[in-house]
Symmetry: C2
Subunit: 454 residues, 2 copies
């Protein structure tokens, strides 16, 4: 006989697609109404499956969707976290189908937010439905889905601090990460932090003709390029003084253990069309994306960028520059070091403004906890293989915040793939992964409730 999940999977997918049609882009004010519609949609779906006391909790920004099912105060409580906002979708012209008109192609759901994080959040909604249909939830469940993760979760921090009693739980469950491959389950146990800045370099007070002025004024684009270039040395070490001071250096044993994870530089290159491997000297590709901090320019602009040739010297040039942090760097420390250093390397012929955006702290989560084991056992049941603990490259700043504010560890039970192109054109999420998540999550609750009782 088909399981409830098997019998209802078409409907589950169809509901997700409806949600993905709402462009809940938090970074751009013009989508504000859509962000609210996406929150309302989620509230309705949660109520339908039996989550109680569902509300849109107002914040200074986008509302947080909160609901709960308290079956017995003596049972353990799991707090599920996720986000319903999505990254901006531009450049739109690089999408093969429009980002907010989801389609399923070759077993994958294509849409902005398909994986990050609406698709993964919706697994939780439907896993809850499955549990309710198959006899009820085995522990207390609280669900908190925010709408500002892609812009720094500032209001979530305030909400959590002000609602510690309401959010009381034993562990936090988050699906916003990935697995190594569909036949190689894994659970992330380390995440990099983030320090993000926008910089502005001003030369002359207006755009100038490069023929009349070229050679005798500081061109802010050339200067910005020089400043950015100087942030790495010839070995791709970051040159900001003090940047590595607090970096947790892994032992040879730990690095040897990491090196056992399946990885091929050749396949890595092919998967994203690289002509060569690149990165900090002395570290492997896996180490470069997990245990080492990095600095990347995420955007740059200035001068004439239209068709044809314009011989202008721009007044201003801009860049967005971010650093991924590792334990035990802190976002505040690195933000201050960056700002000070970047201002210090500006020549006298330009003025520089550094504007920090949001940051996030690096974290390592325990692998010997009841919750981690419950998650690993759940994956072993549904994938038929024990998951590998991995240290990921991305940042989920709220994991560190939950630890500080609520004293709770998080389990990162995510089902995405590196190849899902999150934050990129053509973001997608495997139908396999979506359904596997819905299948796995109930096992986690049952394993966790049983182990906590024991």
């Amino acid at each position: 006989m088909a399981s409830y999940l098997e019998s209802n999977q078409e409907r589950f997918l169809s509901e997700l697609l409806d949600w993905l049609r709402i462009p809940s882009v938090s970074a751009d004010p013009k989508f504000h109404g859509d962000v609210l519609r996406a929150a309302e949609y989620l509230k309705t779906r949660l109520e339908e499956v039996g989550v109680e006391n569902v509300e849109l909790c107002p914040t200074a920004g986008n509302p947080i969707v909160y609901g709960e099912k308290i079956v017995d105060p003596s049972l353990p409580t799991v707090l599920v976290y996720g986000h319903y906002d999505v990254q901006p979708a531009d450049p739109y012209e690089l999408w093969t189908s429009p980002p907010f008109e989801p389609v399923i192609k070759d077993g994958k759901i294509y849409a902005r937010g398909a994986c990050d994080d609406k698709g993964q959040v919706y697994m939780h909604v439907k896993a809850f439905e499955v549990l309710m249909q198959e006899g009820g939830v085995p522990c207390n469940i609280k669900i908190m889905i925010e709408g500002e993760e892609e812009v720094g979760s500032n209001n979530l921090g305030i909400f959590v601090r002000e609602n510690k009693e309401k959010l009381k739980a034993d562990v936090i469950l988050i699906s916003d990460t990935g697995i190594l491959a569909n036949d190689t389950p894994s659970i992330e146990v380390g995440l990099r932090g983030l320090s993000y800045h926008e910089v502005e370099v001003t030369g002359p007070n207006r755009d100038l003709h490069s023929g009349l002025y070229g050679g005798a004024v500081a061109n802010p684009i050339n200067i910005l390029c020089q400043m950015i270039a100087s942030l790495h040395d010839e070995n791709n070490h970051i040159t900001i003084p003090g940047f590595y001071d607090n970096v947790d250096e892994l032992s040879a044993e730990e690095r040897a253990e990491m090196a056992k994870a399946p990885h091929s530089d050749e396949e890595f290159k092919q998967s994203i069309g690289l002509t060569d491997i690149h990165g900090e000297k002395g570290y492997s590709t896996l180490e470069r994306t997990s245990i080492r901090p990095t600095l990347d320019v995420n955007g740059i602009w200035g001068g004439y960028t239209g068709e044809g040739a314009k011989t202008v010297i721009a007044s201003k040039a801009y860049a967005k520059i971010s650093m991924r942090l590792v334990p035990h760097q802190t976002s505040d420390e690195i933000t201050e070091l960056f700002q000070k250093h970047f201002e210090s390397i500006a020549p006298a012929s330009v003025t520089v403004v550094v504007k920090p955006h949001h940051g996030g702290e690096p974290v390592v989560t325990p692998t010997d906890s009841v919750a981690y084991k419950a998650a690993a056992d759940a994956m072993e049941t549904t994938f038929g293989k024990r998951p590998i603990p991995t240290r990921g490259g991305g940042s989920i700043p709220i994991v560190a915040m939950f630890k500080t504010e609520l004293g709770l560890d998080s389990v990162l039970l995510g089902f995405g793939l590196d190849s899902d192109a999150i934050h990129s054109p053509n973001e997608h999420y495997g139908v396999f992964n979506f359904l596997k998540g819905i299948e796995t999550i109930p096992h986690f609750y049952r394993n966790y409730a049983a182990a906590m009782k024991a």
Copy 2:
């Protein structure tokens, strides 16, 4: 009694403003219809003042407006050159009044093209009218106004090669340059050449999440910045091998002569809001903008440039890079050197495409010719001061082309000011300068015709 010019100056200005309302931007295909309208407008105005055989000569691009007044084949012939196309006007938001809704404020005409070059071309139309009203033109005049100067004049070169007989003349007269100040007339006798490129750097084959991939892939923006930064050394010399090989080095005497031109670094800084002087070590500001070649980034773009923070590693980064050339560099030589060098400095982890745009040759025009003296005498009459010969920083590539194809020298009788903000937001042209041009040009024709007869 008021002169014809004095009696008609309001109408002359009003006609120019009508022409400036037509956004004849040649770099952007969406203005193609306007470019044609601007050519038609000019044709009608030329016919009205008595220019004969006026036609729109078709080319593979925008038409060339040609007309003539042959009064006597035994008299000398002056070929007037100018352009009716204008630079793109963006960024529009930096204009205090819309670029194609001209206004006169504080004695200045504000509009894209007010000075470069519609305003200066229109002086010739009205100078012709003045001559006709005051007894006729004293020599043969041919007028050739093109519509692709701001995108490289490619079709003008073909037109000139194919119409050598039609364009036969004794000298070329161009008003597309400036004077030092309204009380310090000057005539440009040297112009820098141009080599202009668009470069594209590709890292991964799609945009990536900087958390998952950051540190292990070549970020094309960081790499582009490094490549651009390496094009200058610490003394702001250009590092392209062979770049200076053919540069005409001026003697100590010539440099001492140049240094006599009125200039204050302090005023220069204040005029464009610079915090410090900048440029190639060992040269003065005036030398940096005239006798020395330069390299400037005119535009750069890549990654996320919208509001807020997006943690992306872009697949591609772009820049527009141009070099101003001096005698005896050639555009072809420098274009090849740049392309070869820029490709050679790309690391193996990225691919680079260099696409040359148009170029132009540096020129020095003679100061001992009949035509130069006729122009200098004309200015002395109308300004009450002998003009200073100067070497300018801009490029008028067609001056070198005219010399090669037609064997003719050009006289650069321009009336703009450095502060006119050509190629920038809020381009403007002084009403004083516009009228002074119309007053001066007839003197040039009379002086030239008289001297050639003698």
